[in-house]
């Protein structure tokens, strides 16, 4: 029974090890990508088969509820798109292709565990499984920039995880347990912020540690450098799946352990509200000046972390809004994930040809690659939050949740930020459509890349035009609370 509940994760772990072995056996390396995608599809299938079960596994450390399964599907789908987009890229990695796919699968496994765990030790282990795989992937190319990205990610990531462990130790010390249910039982008996300085300090350390994963200000310094230097498919994966995993863990931990005591949840709700406002403003304002498209999207991903944090703030400030805010966060993560993956896939296709990530080199791209330009323009419009795209619906939906919790000022900040963001997103579109191309040579792109771009663009359009189908699913998602 327990093995069936852990099916999605175990399947991926097995495939991750098998793909390394397979790498030794086959000459035709394209098989490895197919093999990994089969594993991911199997994992999605296992998650869908489990949909609706509320299982508890491994001594109550893991919960397999709809919330966890939704994220399982999200991570696996993102990994499939990333692997499709990597097929050209991995040609450059002579001899290490098996490891590349294996690390992506292991990172995905870690994220899936992050979404379903409710115990501090296993949260730490699964977070590190994800992070360590991603450190290696960020430095995978071994050229100067990629190594620099890997080193910066590793050093800052390790410091943040040390802070996280220290916070967990303090929370454990004040509550006497590492299980979120045990922590909540202890928190229930406490009252007042001034009387529990150690617990508050622990919570602040937790915010710092998790804040690094989701890239909130002031823990965002690593984002632009790592995003620019890492191989672009890895950047796409970092910006989508790693961020979503961070939010999955934060929402569960903060609601289950600290969310039902108003004296405590009001404070962290306000903390997240303030961080959200600062994060989106910093992300959007600094993005204006960027000349490199990967750095531009790095700052844009910081800004989007700010928007999503509005949902966390809404949960903290008004517990009754949990259902709406959680659904808003899930929908936003799905919409943002598809959109950002689409944008990065288009960028990968373009830079495979031009070898450049500078926005200036996108001049007149529409005449050299009409379909890629259309895809990139469409996803950028979705990132701005204009109809008929996923980004538009996701923003309205999440802003509404924040409004219901009485966060009018934060919604105003969010709307103003969306206006700022329109400037730099649409500037890229303008460069592509109105600029004079440097050459008239047509761009070529591989089949898998085109499939991935088409799939994500249709996903974005689908979520934008028929959002109700997905919102019905996200609204039915609950997490099992002890």
């Amino acid at each position: 029974m327990i093995w069936a509940l852990l099916g999605p994760e175990l399947l991926l772990a097995i495939f991750a090890l098998a793909v390394i072995l397979l790498d030794l056996a086959v000459k035709q390396k394209g098989v490895l990508a197919v093999f990994s995608i089969v594993g991911l599809l199997g994992s999605i299938g296992a998650s869908l088969a489990l949909w609706g079960t509320n299982g508890i596994a491994l001594n109550n450390m893991l919960v397999i509820d709809k919330y966890a399964l939704f994220f399982d599907v999200l991570f696996a789908a993102a990994a499939i798109l990333v692997i499709l987009a990597s097929t050209d890229y991995v040609e450059k990695l002579k001899g290490f292709q098996g490891e590349y796919y294996a690390l992506i699968l292991l990172a995905t496994t870690g994220m899936m565990f992050m979404a379903s765990t409710r115990e501090l030790v296993s949260i730490y282990i699964s977070l590190e499984l994800t992070s360590i795989s991603l450190y290696i992937l960020a430095g995978f190319l071994k050229d100067a920039k990629s190594t620099e990205a890997g080193l910066k990610y590793l050093l800052l990531g390790s410091v943040s995880s040390a802070v996280l462990v220290y916070g967990m130790a303090l929370v454990f010390g004040t509550t006497g347990g590492t299980h979120l249910g045990v922590i909540w039982n202890a928190v229930k008996g406490l009252n007042g912020i001034a009387d529990n300085p150690t617990l508050i300090m622990g919570i602040v350390f937790l915010v710092a540690g998790f804040g690094f994963k989701i890239a909130t200000v002031p823990f965002q310094m690593w984002v632009p450098d790592v995003y620019e230097g890492a191989p672009t498919p890895v950047t796409a994966y970092l910006s989508v799946a790693s961020k979503a995993a961070g939010f999955a863990v934060i929402l569960r931990v903060f609601f289950e352990a600290f969310g039902r005591a108003p004296w405590l949840s009001q404070s962290w709700g306000m903390l997240f509200a303030i961080l959200a406002a600062i994060t989106m403003t910093v992300g959007n304002v600094v993005a204006i000046n960027q000349t490199n498209i990967k750095r531009l999207l790095a700052y844009s991903s910081i800004a989007h972390a700010g928007y999503i944090m509005m949902g966390l703030a809404a949960v903290g400030l008004m517990e009754s809004q949990l259902a709406l805010a959680r659904s808003g966060i899930l929908f936003y993560l799905a919409g943002y994930g598809l959109t950002n993956l689409g944008a990065f896939i288009a960028i990968i296709a373009i830079s495979n040809n031009t070898g450049s990530d500078l926005i200036d080199d996108y001049k007149g791209m529409v005449r050299r690659a009409p379909v890629l330009s259309l895809g990139l323009a469409f996803t950028l419009i979705s990132l701005t939050g204009l109809p008929p795209t996923a980004g538009f619906v996701a923003k309205i939906y999440l802003f509404n949740a924040a409004l219901q919790s009485g966060l009018l000022w934060l919604v105003i900040v969010g709307v103003l930020n969306s206006v700022i963001s329109a400037y730099y997103y649409l500037r890229v579109v303008k460069t592509m459509y109105l600029g004079e191309p440097a050459s008239t040579e047509r761009l070529s792109s591989s089949g898998p890349l085109r499939v991935a771009l088409t799939a994500s663009c249709f996903g974005v359009l689908f979520l934008g035009v028929l959002p109700n189908t997905v919102i019905q699913v996200t609204e039915a998602i609950k997490f099992l609370v002890s």
Binding site: V121, G139, S158, G173, G177
Partner: protein
Amino acid sequence: MVGLQHYIILSAVLFCIGLYGALAKRNAVIILMSIEIMLNAANVALVAFSRYVTPQLLTGQIFAVFVMTVAAAEVAVGLAIIIALYRQKEKVDVGEVDLMKW
């Protein structure tokens, strides 16, 4: 008599030393060592809390064992990346790792 607060003060001091080293030092290997100190500060706190707050359970000790294991994995990857850096620059000074700036 040595009590819980002594261990916690020790761990807080260790944590601060580690954090200072991680932020102020320029040699990548020393930064990794500082991070180890921070993790071990957390271990001291975990074990002390486990002994004094929940003496009948072993949760804290087990957590500390896991932290050590993960730290070893982290350092292994860290040293590999530092070696890759050394092959390019013949140095492990993080001040020189500055291709990308905002």
